[in-house]
């Protein structure tokens, strides 16, 4: 062997290093925009506009100003209230329905998954237009006020997220061995108390994951929020849109608003990541 040719072992090593480098580069590209979001929010508007970035002396001025510029607090509180309540209702419905689907055989149980997939085929605007007309009609003809109220969005989100939540909860309930319940029944539990005392505690990770899932989706929802609200119950995505159209030059504040809107999601996500990722990928892997 001459000195210039590489031994197979070395060429494989170099190939491995190249692939490692490629992997790091890809991950860096995926993460970079998020890093930029955080860095940018700690700069001043003029630094961002002129490209004179100063990463050594960050300032939190943008975070303080942004609350006043678009009354961000209103959007933030609306989002928190609407999303927590809607996720709670969807999870409560999904727990009972998911349990029924996992444990009891009845007609139509098999077609359920198909129906859940079916609901995904309907464009949001298909529900939205009649719901919009219906809300307006209620406002004009009855004392029930749903247009531009938190209650209206809560109802819509609950209805919207319950099917997928049931799908998730069913998978978690199926994973709990039936023998646990049977043992409780033998020991003299009623079916209901077996559900409350044995099944629910075991399903807790699933319930939390489903709650977080519904919360994340509601937090991210824009179509209904953009069209069924006018002022009082506008949520964060609408606030961000208002920011972009009216305060385009306040770059740092825009990014700061983005950071604040991401924080609750990030906390919820990483606190429950284990269960959430398992629950979401399990369905698609079994396919």
């Amino acid at each position: 062997m001459t000195a210039l040719t590489l031994s197979p072992r070395w060429s494989r090593r170099i190939g491995n290093w190249a692939l490692n480098l490629l992997t790091y580069a890809v991950v860096a590209i995926l993460v970079a925009p998020v890093v930029w979001l955080v860095f940018g929010s700690l700069q001043t508007d003029s630094d961002l506009a002129n490209g004179t970035y100063d990463f050594l002396s960050p300032t939190t001025a943008a975070f303080r100003e942004m609350w006043d510029t678009v009354d961000f607090e209103r959007y933030f509180v609306n989002s928190l209230v609407i999303c927590s309540v809607a996720a709670l209702l969807a999870t409560a419905f999904a727990s009972s329905a998911g349990y029924a689907l996992a444990r009891f055989r009845f007609r139509g149980a098999d077609t359920f998954s198909l129906t859940v997939i079916g609901t995904q085929l309907i464009p949001g605007t298909m529900f939205l237009l009649p719901i919009f007309l219906g809300f307006i009609w209620l406002n004009q003809n009855t004392p029930v006020q749903l247009y531009d109220t938190r209650l209206g969005l809560i109802l819509v989100y609950t209805a919207f997220f319950t099917p997928v939540a049931i799908f998730l909860m069913r998978a978690f309930f199926v994973a709990i061995p039936r023998e646990l319940e049977e043992a409780a029944l033998v020991d003299g539990c009623s079916p209901f108390s077996a559900f409350v005392r044995i099944v629910l505690p075991n399903a807790a990770p699933g319930i939390i994951a489903t709650y977080v899932y519904a919360f994340l989706f509601a937090w991210d929802e824009l179509l209904f929020a953009a069209t069924l609200t006018e002022r009082d119950s506008e949520t964060i995505p609408i606030g961000i849109r208002t920011f972009i159209s009216n305060y385009q030059q306040e770059y740092a504040q825009l990014l700061a608003a983005g950071v604040v809107a991401t924080l609750p999601v990030m906390v919820a996500f990483f606190a429950t990541q284990r269960w959430l990722v398992r629950g979401l990928t399990a369905g698609s892997v079994k396919g």
Partner: protein, 284 residues
């Protein structure tokens, strides 16, 4: 549970046959019934003023969906293969790559909208000022480039979930298969082509099915980045529907396009089912 989905859908289809406009809006569901007029305006009447906007949005939606789904799935598979190897920092990389997924899509849109800015955005700074790859600063958020300004963030945000699913699938492939193939003299490409791809086919099928549906119904990213009127190069069917229904109060017209979209998706599911029926049976 199903009532909350089916009843409004049927009502929505009914609205597609009504002439709800600025003058009849106060009548709500009792607006004049005009039969297929809304559909005719979109599909048949070539001189209808609403038609060019619809054709633009249709063309943009098709290319937006094709590009986002195509690139997200192929890049997602590639990155999953990279992350499935043994290398230093594997655990950290697998957590870090979730970052785009944790950011809500409206924040992703806000962030990219800022990065795409022609004069002050970081993308042009890198391409023009730092690396001199381009001589003059492209305008990303207007004109022909604007469709890419919404495709790229959609791919960026969609990648982590696809990678997660493919990684889970890759880990389920038994090592013995690769070892046996290697002993029989199969190279890396042959192992990928004849072991990995066939075993991942059901996963690819499911991702393809939902990827197309979610892309076609994407609203948040184009709306936050480009507003309610993204212009003829980036207007999607969803932004068109919302603009016509809520800014111009042509609610029946919006409902008609929604109905057509739903029919298109049903057709897509039928095509998908014919193509992947074998894999569904294999998976079950």
């Amino acid at each position: 549970m199903l009532g909350v989905h089916i009843a409004p859908t049927i009502a929505g289809i009914y609205v597609a046959f009504l002439d709800v406009n600025l003058f009849t809006f106060h009548l709500l569901f009792r607006a004049p019934f005009v039969g297929l007029d809304n559909f005719r305006a979109i599909l048949v009447e070539s001189d209808n003023p609403l038609r060019p906007g619809f054709m633009d949005a249709l063309r943009n939606t098709i290319s937006y969906t094709a590009w986002t789904v195509g690139i997200t799935l192929s890049a997602g598979l590639g990155v999953a293969l990279l992350l499935n190897r043994r290398f230093p920092g594997r655990r950290v990389c697998r957590t870090l790559m979730l970052a785009p997924w944790v950011v809500p899509s409206f924040v992703a849109a806000l962030l990219w909208q800022f990065m795409w800015q022609s004069d002050t955005g970081i993308i042009n700074r890198i391409l023009v000022d730092y690396t001199h790859l381009l001589d003059d600063r492209p305008i990303w958020l207007l004109g022909e480039n604007s469709i890419w300004a919404i495709i790229v963030p959609t791919i960026w945000r969609g990648l982590p979930f696809v990678i997660l699913v493919f990684l889970a699938g890759l880990q389920a492939v038994p090592d013995e298969l690769y070892e046996a193939a290697a002993i029989d003299g199969a190279g890396p490409w042959q192992r990928f082509r004849y072991i990995t791809l066939p075993l991942l086919r059901p996963l690819i099928a499911i991702q393809l099915l939902f990827g197309v549906i979610y892309s076609a119904y994407q609203f948040a990213i184009p709306f936050v980045m480009l507003g309610s009127n993204p212009g003829p190069y980036a207007d999607l069917l969803m932004t068109l529907i919302v603009r016509q229904a809520f800014t111009n109060q042509l609610i029946g017209y919006g409902a008609a396009i929604s109905t057509l979209m739903m029919i298109a998706m049903l057709l897509w599911v039928a095509v998908w089912y014919r193509a992947f029926r074998r894999d569904l049976v294999a998976a079950a």
